[in-house]
Amino acid sequence: MLIYIARRAIMAVSVILVVLVATFLLFFAGPADPAQSMCGETRCTTQRLEDIRRSLGTDRPVAIQFKEYFQGLLVGRDIYVSGSPKHCEAPCLGFSFRTGVEVKDALATRFPNTAMLALMSMVIFLSVGVSTGVLAARRRGSGLDRGIVGFSQVFGSIPSYITGLLFALNFTVLYPLLPRYANRSDGIAGWIAGLVAPAIILGLFYATGYVRYARASMVDTLNQDYVRTARSKGISEQTVVYKHGLRAALSPVVTILGLDMAGLLSGTLITEQIFGVDGIGRFAIESLRNDDLPIIMGTVLIGCVLVVIMNLIVDIAYSFLDPRVRLS
């Protein structure tokens, strides 16, 4: 068991290291000069260009730059921001080009928004998806079953940003049935209320998949011998379905939940953009438009670390559920 966990952890660390090196080479050591794009076309003096290069450290060899970035991540470092040195504690992701704010702080203030959105949509897609799937499985072959499967197939095939955009435009802008996003600092109640609309769309989109997984898994379980035995013993249908059936039917759903975590991050990114939620994804898109390299690099790294950690947790949790995976 320990060996398995250690192997998975080493794998996770190696992935993060590779991503770190690859993103660094791509963003900071590319042939394009980030200072040039930062400097603006009309009012760029040589002095200003030099300042930016020095604050980025792009005037030095790539190997040294990487060493400093890496060092910053582990122990922190000093960075020149518009001429004066500023200390940046570990894990240091640098300072924004545009605003001078530390990347770590900027991400930390936005992270709860993304996490809350993901959590709320997860509650929706798990509850709606699994209960609808179980309902369809119990009425297998009926009109209701066909309706549920057909609807989830159609709704799940249309890109979520299309349904999300139409939902946002119609129900938060044109006919404001649901409140728009409000900042957390303006009150927790308003903040959560504003996240309801994006969470519903993201949740329903993901629910379509869970309807089908839960239905298939439940149909399979209800055909098992032990369920027939339970029924023939005269146990009530409720107990058979929920106590004997559902528990066994849920384990494949848990696996898929783990695999979906990475996708959910992409899902929140585009949903945040549509509904104007001030989360990590929208922040990344915004900094992309501003060529704000430290922020882009920071968000990619954080996103990757999150995905790797979630995959690791799922793998380890699954090895407890199903001992066979440890052997492979």
Binding site: F27, P31, Q153, S157, I158, S266, T299, C304, V307, N311
Partner: protein, 333 residues
Amino acid sequence: MGPTTEAVDTGVPSAAVADAIDKRAGRSPSQIAWDRLKSDKVAIGSLVIVVFFVLVAIFAPLLVALEGEELNKYHPELISAANTYPIIGATPQHWFGVEPRTGRDLFAVWAWGARPSLIIGFTAATFSTLLGIAIGLTAGYLGGVVDKIITWIIDVLLSLPFLLMVLALVPVIQSRFTKPGEVLTAEETSGIRFWVLIAILVFFGWIGLARLIRGEVLSLREREFVQAAKVIGVPTRQILFREILPNLVGPIIVSASIAVPAYISSEAALSYLGAGLVEPTPSWGRTVSNAQNSYARYPLFLWPPVASIALIVLALSLLGEAIRDAFDPNTRR
């Protein structure tokens, strides 16, 4: 006429029966799948929609000429000076109205927009499928260190947040095609973007198929017919392409048909987010992005691209699932 049919002596005039038996025996899995697909109403309906969009894409210039317009022709006279919104809706001259502010004909933007969408979808699916087959075959057949390295690369790529990576990569890779200080025209930039998008979609797109093929090849290479081919000295190339690959036609077709709508959707999403196609290449995703703020006052701007993206992705996805069902011996329709 095979020996089995001759051996069966039932006393019935056997020509017709034998023929029927032979036909059954001779059908390949692909033929069976094709026959099942033809009788699937959802698949045929989806195919009609896909063909419609393909025709729009092919005949875009003709359709726009028929309307009496051209792409990127501005009509400032149709724009209200007071609020920059068009003074017309859908008219016989402008079937989908005109764009706010510029007065460009929206039907032309829509019809031409079908092209990059479909070309990117099908090109990226073709290349990622080929790459997936090549890498999957290599890893599965060679095994050993090569397999370990490829599996590791796949694991790394799977851990990346896809959309975030792509968003960040597009401008970076694009900058690799321009020399420092060089200023590109809008056409050049959008041309480079087009291929960069395809390249990135392919780069992240081969993984699923490669994993699948690798797994299949791992088990196929131990089968008797492959072992036999090895023993009699069939060259590796021939074993791979004549013995192993024909067994994988089903999963490959299924994977490719599911990839196309995914890429079309990704292109539209990236263009919507501003990291996809740029002017003057028309793109439905970018039109959606431009139109969203005008929705309350000029919904005609938004509806055609939104409906088209939804329809084409839906139709291709349903078609892909129908193809998967057709190849799956466990489903009975």
